[in-house]
């Protein structure tokens, strides 16, 4: 089995649901990557970004403020309080989603380090 089923849901609806290669999650005790066949795990998430590698090899980024992730061998479920998918068809759409992602993270996290890391990540994605 070399694909994972990832679902990201928030109280406002489903943000993401697809088969993926792997995902990196901002755990409360540090970032962790999940590949297919990962041991079962329930983890608290802190404000940060979720880096998703799609089956096509493309990357997709979703910013979350707080939540839980449930991982097992073949699927990952993220229950987030708030999440913003970064991306869009045009430059301006990407820029505005970046801004809302930054705001989301800053509004929730009280740790400067977390904010700084998340910001740096978002910005590096934006440049890349």
């Amino acid at each position: 089995m070399d694909i994972l089923k990832l679902e990201i849901v928030t109280p406002e609806g489903q943000i993401f649901s697809d088969d993926i290669k792997n995902v990196t999650l901002p755990g409360a005790e540090g970032e962790f990557g999940v590949y297919p066949g990962h041991a079962s795990l329930v983890s608290l998430l802190q404000a940060g970004v979720i880096d998703i590698e799609l089956t096509t090899g493309k990357h997709e980024i979703v910013a979350v403020n707080w939540g839980h992730a449930k991982v097992d061998e073949s699927s990952v479920t993220v229950l987030a309080d708030g999440a913003v998918a970064i991306g869009g068809d045009s430059e301006s759409a990407i820029a505005s989603s970046l801004n809302s992602a930054k705001k989301l993270i800053e509004s929730m996290s009280d740790s400067d380090v977390a904010i700084a890391t998340a910001r740096a990540k978002i910005e590096s994605i934006a440049r890349g």
Partner: protein, 294 residues
């Protein structure tokens, strides 16, 4: 002549009622669209969090992991005290919407009474509260004015006390009853046993491994997840109930408007008949008057 006036007055009154019911229908339609959207958006999250929790419950029971707040997951076969939280609307004029919920609560209460289980009621929504007050059935706590404008904070407030009681062992089970939204024309009564968390005999996922928790040094993660689970279920009940209320009212008002229209037609017919009758009588009187003068 007085008959004519009487009918005219009736027509006017029915027409006024029709105007009101029509306006109420339009208002409900508009509100329904908003409430429906909110309910649909939250549905995914509610489903997911329930799925996650039931899987955790399954695993905890499967592997008998000690030390975790297992009270939330242990299926209690003989509960001693049950908390029933029901959600009704604050307003009436929505057909059988409220009474369906109330009936179900009554049925549950009778069920538990037969089993000698104490039942405690927590009511949300003026209509349900008023009903049980009238029946002289004591409500442990009641929350009016929440149903028409539910927020997450209010849901937290309602459920927090129930959780505390459950945690400290005062109650053994919490049941959530509300009339939920199914589609534009029908509602579905939903009875949700929120704790102990129910789980299927076999979880579909093929994961066999033990579940790890992170951070693992304490139970905060499970606790926060459980808290979220409660609050979200409560919140979802509230908004689902609101959507259902509007759909029920829309339908009830639609029916009322149709009935009023029918009634106006009937009355108009009666009015015309009476008018013709009076004209005929007058004519006869005049003619016979003229005849007698010859």
């Amino acid at each position: 002549m007085s008959n004519l006036k009487e009918i005219k007055r009736k027509i006017k009154s029915v027409e006024n009622t029709r105007k009101t019911t029509k306006a109420m229908k339009l208002v409900s339609t508009a509100k329904l669209n908003r409430a429906k959207l909110a309910a649909q958006q939250s549905k995914v999250y509610a489903q997911k969090i329930n799925e996650v929790l039931s899987e955790i419950a399954y695993k905890i029971n499967q592997y008998k992991i000690g030390g975790i707040e297992s009270r939330f997951f242990d299926e209690i076969t003989t509960p001693k005290k049950v908390d029933i939280i029901f959600v009704t609307a604050d307003k009436g004029l929505c057909g059988g919407f409220n009474i369906q919920t109330i009936k179900e609560v009554n049925r549950l209460m009778d069920d538990y009474k037969d089993k000698k289980v104490k039942v405690r009621l927590r009511g949300v929504g003026k209509k349900g509260i008023a009903f049980f007050k009238f029946q002289d059935i004591e409500l442990h706590s009641s929350y009016a004015g929440v149903s028409s404008a539910p927020t997450y904070e209010k849901a937290q407030e309602i459920i927090s006390e129930a959780i505390e009681d459950f945690k400290s062992g005062v109650t053994d089970k919490i049941i959530l009853v509300h009339n939920g939204y199914l589609n534009m024309i029908s509602q579905e009564l939903k009875v949700n046993n929120i704790v102990p968390v129910s789980f299927p005999e076999h979880v579909e996922s093929d994961s066999k491994s033990l579940m790890e928790l992170e951070p693992e040094e304490d139970e905060t993660i499970l606790e926060s997840l459980i808290k979220k689970y409660f609050e979200y279920n409560m919140y979802y009940s509230l908004i689902d109930s609101l959507a259902a209320e509007h759909s029920a009212r829309m339908q009830a008002m639609e029916n009322a408007t149709n009935n009023a229209t029918e009634r106006v037609e009937m009355l108009t017919l009666a009015y015309n008949k009476a008018r013709q009758e009076s004209i005929t009588t007058e004519l006869i009187e005049i003619i016979s008057g003229v005849e007698s003068m010859k």
